[in-house]
Structures are given as structure tokens and as C-alpha cells.
Amino acid sequence: MSIKRSLATTTISGFALSAAFVLTLLNLLLQNLPAHMHRAGDELLKLNADEGIANAVTTVVVYFRGFDTLGEIAVLFIASLGIGLMLGENERCEIKAESNFMLQTASRLLFPIITLYGIYVMVYGHLSPGGGFQGGVIIASGVLLLLISHKEYEVPHSLVVWLETFAGVAYVLIGLIGLLTLDVFLSNFLPHDIAQMGLLISGGIIPIIYILVGIKVGSEMSMIVQNLIKRQSNV
């Protein structure tokens, strides 16, 4: 067979095989669509009232599955460490479009507003949708705005190191205090009345942990963003 023929045969048979594979998978998934089941989340929703937090997703993220959140924080920490290791020694890249006076003034005006919004989302995370991760990323986007518009801006390194160390150590210490006092790691040892549901101070350790998560995520994402701008300008 000529090359063209064999190429066409291979392509067509490849397509036929993948189409058969895709159709089998789709058939399987569509035949087994789940009915409305009673899942574990429904049980957790009933337990949520004991913790006195209005946003059930926050209770699940921070308390019922708080160990996964601790692991996720560890992953972000290691990733930020790794990016700093890879790119930390380079110089900052040049952005060819010069930023002018209007951009610099506007970004300096916007940065406090963005940070305030991020802190609001972080602190009210247990009362309305939001939380530590979301608030931290909003703060990091404000920092990104400043990094793009100002050539000489650098995130203050020692402040970031202090914040992230404090937040991480406090999270693990809260868990260990729970282990010491109530014999269960990460237990809710501060008072959490159901009467307080909907107020800012409610739910025991849950808002505290989410604020710590927000501080850590915000500072680490700022460091990641700054390190990613550091590649040499001829790349």
C-alpha cells in the first residue's frame, strides 16, 4: 500500500477505535445515572446545626473534613516553596508596554479596595458563600495588579514569611490543642452555641481557622505570582 493509503487507513481505524471507546464509556455512564440517593452530605447537614455555622460548606471544608484542608494547605506551601526554588534567583522580566501615569494611579487607588473586599470575603466566609481560599486569591489578584503596573514593586519578603509561618503553625497548633484537651485532633474546643448562628462570632474555631487559611493562601499566592514574573527578559 502506498504511504497515503496506509496513513489514511491508520487514521480512519484510529478514529473508529476511539469512537467505539468513547461510545462504550458514554453508554455505560448514561445507563447508570444516579437516582436521588441519601448521601453522606445529608447526614453532615443535620450535624451542622450543632456547630452553629450558617454556611454548611464552610463547616464541611474546615471542620468535618478539616484534615483535607490541612493537607491542601501543605500542598500549596510545598508548591510555593518549589516555585521559589526554581525561579527565585532570576531577574524580573520586562513588560514591553510602558505603564503610564493613569494606570499607576488607578491601580494604587484600587489596591486597598481589592484587599478590603478580599478580607471581607475571608472574614464572612462562614456566613455567606466565600471563605479563606476565595479571599486569599482576591488579595493575590490585587498584588498582581500592583506588580504589573509598577516596575519596581516587590512584595515585602519578610512580611510574607512571617504571615505564612504564623498562619500555618497556628493551624497545626489549634489541631494539637484539640488533641490535648478533647482527645480528638482538630476538635471544636471553643464554645459554639446554635443561638449564635448568623453572627460574626459563632461556631468556635471554624471562623478562626478559615481566616488563618485565608492569610496563608493570600501570602503564598502573592509569592507565587511574584516568582512567576521572574524569568529573564529574553524568554
Partner: protein
Amino acid sequence: MFEYLNQSEVIRSIVTVGSMALFFVGLFGLLSQKHFIKIFISIAIMESAVFLFFIGNVFERDFTAPIMGEGYTNVAQMNDPIPHAMILTAIVIGMAVMALGVSMAIEYYKLTKNTDIDKMNEMRH
């Protein structure tokens, strides 16, 4: 016709077909592309497809968000909070791994000016 489309089995079928199409687009990109950044984008597309499949199949159309306040303490009609927590964790972890991958790719390019995975042969066989 809209009553037919609003049934939960039909919505779930549409979400399943769409998210699996996205998954196979990502898988095709992973297997056929040679540039690192395109491979990372394909992996990110596959991850988004899996999250879409997950959320689409656990969502109940008539239920409300799992947030309690005045008047919404009826827990039986609230959506499940566990998938939200799982996908939040998985998105953050996926983003962290991709950011690390991009930084390694940048450093590799700086040292060898090569972006093609077929031509990565620093190690002689």
C-alpha cells in the same frame, strides 16, 4: 418540550455527555501535542471536565444552597455540601501542581531553549 428538558435525568445526561466530550478533547491533546505548555493545558482541561461531571451529577435542581439563615433551616431540601468541599480542595491542588510544572518548564527552557518533549534527551539511553 421544556418540561421534558427540565427533568433531572435529561440534565444529568447532557452534563455527562458534555463533560466526557471535554475529557476526551483533553486526552487527545495530552497524547498528540509536543509543546509542554500545551500538555499542561490539556491536563487542566481534563481536570475541569472531571469536576464538571462530578458537580453535574450530584446537583438536585429543586433544592437550595446549603446555607442556613432565617427561614432556610429546612435541611432536607438543601444540596449536598461534600462535593463542594471536595472540588474546592481538588481545584487548589490541581492549580498548585500546574503552577509548579510551568515554573519547571520555564527553567528548563532557559537552560536548553527546547520546548518539545520528543527532543528532551538529556539522558542518553
